[in-house]
């Protein structure tokens, strides 16, 4: 009895060690790795390698909103549960990757099929490439060379690249997206940091709506009805909630403190 009590008491203690902060540094992803997602819900069951999805290539061509709102991809890896069958029906990846749609003058290759030839197998590994030695169509260094530089993440200032017209992300797909009249973009506002002498955060709706519209964040991530309604802290953001839903994995990372905490202290 006592033994079980001891075990019962010790298990949570050791479990807390496992989740405890380590006080050491993690490895920082390399620019081409940042925003990379490994999707492995059903791949191994089908005898395929997991899918290596790189945000950097897709975000240079499409807005975040298009995939995460119109097409319906979740914001956390492996929570969408993408099936080959769904892709074949024209959902998820298959919305664009159907062998018919084009981006510019480039035809988008078809994803997932029930009937395929030996030749077609090569196409599978264009996505199912994790751990495979595959030469990609796009090389990160060459592709991002022309974009303005940033300190962290992909090393690319995506915001500036869009502003300068170096990339024009598509925000509408015929038959999937439905155009609505745009809402008036709200003015930039400041959020006061909880810690004294910490510079205030300048939040720009405008910079966000270019990529996200309204629906990506409101009302799920931020209730958004009234300023100050959603209460959150930096600790939660670091845990991947609120701003951290994007700014830890894909958008410029929280490592770049000053990019948000930008209002000089008086």
């Amino acid at each position: 009895m006592k033994k079980w009590l001891a075990i019962g008491l010790l298990v949570p203690v050791f479990a807390s060690f496992a989740f405890a902060q380590t006080g050491t540094k993690k490895r920082r992803p390399l620019p081409y790795e940042y925003g990379g997602v490994v999707i492995k819900n059903f791949s191994s069951g089908a005898g395929l390698s997991p899918v290596q999805f790189d945000h950097w290539l897709h975000r240079a061509k499409y807005t975040c909103r298009l995939c995460h709102v119109d097409i319906g991809f979740a914001m956390k890896a492996n929570t969408t549960g993408i099936k080959a069958a769904d892709n074949m029906k024209g959902y998820y990846c298959g919305t664009c990757h159907n062998g018919k749609m084009a981006h510019g003058d480039r035809k988008i290759f078809e994803a997932c099929a029930t009937k395929y030839t030996r030749e077609d197998l090569k196409r599978c590994s264009r996505c199912h490439s994790k751990g495979e030695n595959i030469k990609r169509d796009y090389d990160f260094a060459t592709f991002t060379e022309r974009f303005p530089k940033e300190r962290f993440g992909n090393g690319v200032d995506w915001e500036k690249a869009e502003e300068r017209g170096l990339l024009k992300p598509v925000d509408f797909i015929e038959g999937v997206s439905i155009k609505r009249p745009a809402l008036a973009v709200q003015k930039d506002f400041t959020l006061t940091a909880k810690v004294e002498t910490m510079p205030e955060i300048i939040f720009s709706h405008k910079k966000h709506t270019v990529w996200n519209g309204c629906e990506l964040c409101h009302p799920e991530i931020f209730a958004g009805i009234k300023k100050g309604m959603t209460k959150y802290s930096m600790v939660e953001i670091f845990e991947g909630k609120y701003c951290g839903a994007c700014h830890i994995t894909v958008a410029f990372p929280t490592t770049d403190c000053q990019r948000c905490h930008s209002k000089p202290v008086r």
């Binding site: 380590t22 260094a141 810690v195 403190c257 000053q258």
Partner: protein
């Protein structure tokens, strides 16, 4: 002696435990597993030998004291993405030649390039390589340990002017200069102070937050001297590069002895 039972035995055990607890700090203090003291010109030096055994190249020697005169920690550890642990960064010749890591400066213009004739300048396997240049920093403010140089004072007195960035300028300076008082685990040890400003002069906020230290004092768990001595928390830098941990008084200013 008959076996004692009940409250008397409990009281004795409690008494012994309290005595032990009281004695512990005094005993343990002298027994801190401090890293061995190094000659000043070797402190902060390291040999990088991640893939060299395979490629039959001598390990690359690196002296922090040579670099920190010219560049703040953030340049290499934030902008260039060098890890905080030797051999944890995936530096390759190809990456260097593409202008990453060492190659950001060692391009033949800012510093010597990565070419055949220069190999041995780094790949020499000597921890003390280039120690003859140590005399250059002897004029800087003196400290008792580490490189025997008070780097913070040297920076504050503008005796050195290390660069804060290479290519991409940080947007704004975070002038967060709150000094924290951290209570020690043991009653006899006076609290440690932590001045943010002395650290941000060299480092980026994100060099430490949130991975090494959560931003909330309460949220940083197991922040203990024993862990620091194992290279966690303050020990990430203050065991190997920044002033060594043996300088008790620099963090615990009210301490009577310096060591």
């Amino acid at each position: 002696m008959p076996q004692q039972t009940g409250p008397i035995a409990l009281r004795r055990i409690a008494g012994a435990a309290i005595t032990l607890l009281l004695l512990c700090p005094a005993v343990a203090r002298g027994n801190f597993p401090l890293p061995p003291e190094l000659p000043p010109e070797l402190y902060g030096n390291l040999l990088i030998s991640r893939t060299m055994r395979k490629s039959h190249v001598m390990p690359a020697a690196f002296s922090h004291w040579r670099y920190r005169q010219k560049y703040t920690c953030r340049v290499c550890h934030s902008e260039l993405g060098f890890a905080f642990r030797a051999n944890a960064t995936e530096i390759t010749e190809a990456e260097n030649k593409a202008g990453k890591y060492c190659g950001a400066c060692h391009d033949g213009r800012t510093a010597f390039g990565i070419e055949e004739a220069q190999c041995e300048k780094c790949h020499n396997g000597e921890l003390g390589y280039g120690k003859e240049k140590f005399s250059e920093i002897l004029g800087l403010p003196v400290s008792n340990a580490g490189n025997r140089v008070d780097w913070t004072k040297a920076l504050e007195e503008k005796r050195i002017a290390p660069a804060t960035f290479l290519a991409v300028k940080p947007s704004t300076d975070i002038s967060y200069d709150k000094t924290l008082t951290l209570n020690a685990e043991w009653v006899f040890v006076p609290p440690a102070i932590f001045p943010h400003k002395k650290h941000t002069a060299w480092l980026e906020c994100s060099n430490c937050h949130p991975e090494i230290f959560n931003i909330r004092k309460k949220g940083t768990k197991h922040f203990e001297m024993a862990r620091i001595l194992k290279g966690e928390f303050c020990g990430v830098c203050h065991l190997t590069v920044a002033f060594p941990i043996s300088e008790c008084k620099r963090c615990h200013p009210a301490m009577k002895r310096s060591q």
